[in-house]
Amino acid sequence: MAGHHHEYVIRRGNIFTPTFYVTTALIILAVIIVLYRYWMGMGYITNMSDGYPWGTWKSVNVSIGAAFACGGYVLAILVYIFNKYKYHHMVRSGVLVSMFGYSLAGLAVLIDVGRPWNAIYFFVPSNMQLNSALFEVALCVMAYTGVTILEFLPAVFERTSLIEKYPRFSAFSKKWYHVIEKITFLIIAIGITLPSMHQSSLGTMLIATGHKLHPLWQSNFIPLLFLITAFVMGIASIILVSMLTSKLLHRPFEKSIYGIAKLIPYATIAWIVVRIISLTTAGAWGYLFTSGILSFFVILEFLTMGIPAYIVLRTKLGRSKRGVFICSSLMVVGVCLYRLGVYLLGFNVEAGWNSYFPSFGETITTTALLLVILWGYIILIKLVPVLPNLDAKGDPRKD
């Protein structure tokens, strides 16, 4: 086909950049802390207590990390289900973030749980506990991590097929590339079903805590709100990853994100509506201005979700780079606040129990686990074709 352009490109360049060294150093520090935690027990490096048994590893790395990894999920729905193939060129970077986001959420759980070797009992039928939302989350996250790897493999195979030194490996890559291509629709279907299940169950988990979760957050609508925040965060993640990549790597601006930005009002307004319903059914409006700092957090949630919707719908700013960036950043803050609210901020045990603030060790490991996403991203875009070939936007294929 004359004039055909590839959809994705490999970024040519040195992997060992200053960013790489800084992130690697922090990751090594975190590895040392984690080894110490395994050797001594987690009480020596964390501030978690019997009153606050879930710290930042679960509330930040799992609940927020898994939300940020929803870019691949949103793009999969958009491209393969809503037939918007014009965004197809963004899928791989979304899937790459999802793959690392979910793997790192899983790794955070392995660091967080005290007896990780017993995780084999998730697969022993007599031990499966179907009443537990955590059981479903654990299985779905493990399965989805596998699915994201499958979704990403074609990119790797495209690259490995070029290795002329090993013709059999090259042929193997080509063969399996086509096999995965054929069953893409199945992988995508699983890859959308699983996040829909566990993103809501991440919220269901906290319903069982009953009165220990503040009425401003405790409600039967937590699962639905968590599902919607997955969409909100997914959209924000696609936009931010694309914009930051363009800016920091001096790449051309990806115009398709204006199309993605059109989804912002749908997601955020849906969240606001359900949040209002949830506050009403929980009878929690009375707490909205009387709970001190917690009231502030909830009001901030509404603002950070409402302002992007307003900007995109009502102002010119919504059609500019700056506006889209502000909206996405606000949405990230909003989702983080809501999910932290459910997992940590709104969790008030009772008087006499110490409150929780992450320790030095937890802060470092939590940050490092999030940085591994960045670390993996900057390495893999230079090894396999992930970034969209923006030069090829004149591609004659119709959407």
Partner: protein, 366 residues
């Protein structure tokens, strides 16, 4: 072909909305949760706060049986030749330096349940300077949150005697039980490399929990403030005490009859239970019911996920066919370039110059 594209958008929307709808439907059913019946054989404990003198003999007895000498109590069940310390090591506490006998501080400083004390006595002095004691240990709820949330069945409620037991060999150490327990009972060995959850099991693992053996705490109570027996008998006893002593007990209430869906351990007290460490926000139902009902409604027979999957697979398949193209044509590379420095630009191909021009155009445009 535009109409069919619209149809797929509809299908996609329906699938996503369907998932949301199922979630919302679940909310209604959760309210109409059916209460679980107590097992007629359920055993429990009955603590009468007005009889307790606060001697803490129960605390020491429990500490001795379930912590200090737990090893010998568990192994006494087996014949000496069957005793295998390595196999049972998981169940045996290792004494950390701070747990060992300290001649300078030979007393116990117990403020709350922790991984050593499954059972504690707390004191409350009311405004009239009357002293009230309260014993805290696992309530053995009828519908326990901890059992409901444990993902690997490490916590179980015995269907016959109703004891909520913990099995360390299944536990993954996720501490969800701690998060969910409304009475803040399960404790975690934070400073152990191989930590366990610790909670009262009515001495089932050490003494065997039967009418002859009793429990560590009930066996030593000098005033009979805490007694062990079948829950039905204990409940009758409690009601009799209330009937025979009008006005003595707070609101003529047996705590645990209905609280948190009913508990096997029941209490009588002269003061409001909220002063004795029982959160007044604890409801007459267990939140395990709410979350289980919601969870089960969403996943009734797995219909919602399977339906969603099939819809998505069909939509994805058809969309994939419509947009089919062979993308496998090798790999293209994108050169690094710095837009502002002419000399640093390494691009050799015309294509890259175009990219650069485009980038600058974008920059100028905004």
């Amino acid at each position: 072909m535009k109409t069919s594209r619209r149809e797929f958008i509809k299908v996609g929307t329906a699938a996503v909305l369907g998932a949301g709808a199922v979630t919302t439907v679940g909310v209604k059913d959760a309210e109409a949760a059916a209460k679980r019946e107590f097992s007629p054989e359920a055993v429990g404990m009955f603590y009468d706060s007005t009889k307790c003198i606060g001697c803490q003999a129960c605390v020491i007895s429990c500490y001795e049986i379930n912590f200090v000498n737990r090893q010998s109590y568990i192994n006494n069940v087996l014949a000496p030749e069957d005793q295998n310390f390595i196999v049972r090591e998981d169940l045996i506490p290792k004494l950390a330096p701070e747990d060992q006998f300290n001649p300078d501080r030979p007393w116990l400083n117990v403020e709350t349940n922790d991984y050593r004390f499954r059972n504690i006595i707390q004191k409350y002095v009311d405004p009239e300077d009357n002293v009230h004691f309260i014993k805290h240990q696992c309530m053995h709820c009828n519908h326990p949150e901890c059992v409901s949330v444990c993902p690997v069945t490490a916590l179980t409620k015995d269907p016959v005697d109703g004891v909520v037991e913990y099995n360390a060999s299944y536990c993954i150490g996720c501490r969800y039980c701690q998060l969910a327990c409304p009475f803040l009972i399960p404790k975690y060995e934070w400073k152990r490399a191989v930590p366990k959850i610790v909670k009262c099991d009515m001495c089932k693992s050490t003494l065997g929990a039967n009418d002859i053996a009793g429990t560590g705490c009930t066996n030593v109570c000098p005033t009979g403030a805490v007694i062990y027996g079948k829950r039905t008998d204990l409940m009758k006893d409690a009601k009799n005490r209330i009937a025979n002593n009008p006005g003595k007990y707070f609101a003529d209430k047996v705590y645990g009859e209905y609280d948190n869906g009913g508990t096997d351990v029941i209490y009588l007290s002269a003061v409001d239970f909220k002063y004795l460490g029982f959160d007044e926000r604890i409801q007459d139902f267990s939140y395990a019911e709410v979350s289980e009902n919601l969870h089960h409604t969403i996943y009734t027979l797995g219909l919602a996920p399977i339906g969603l999957f099939l819809t998505l697979a069909v939509a994805g398949y058809i969309n994939g066919k419509r947009n089919a193209h062979d993308t496998f044509e090798g790999v293209e590379f994108e050169d690094e370039y710095v837009p502002d420095t002419k000399t640093a630009t390494k691009s050799k191909e015309v294509k890259n110059k175009e990219v650069k021009a485009k980038a600058e155009k974008d920059k100028g445009g905004e």
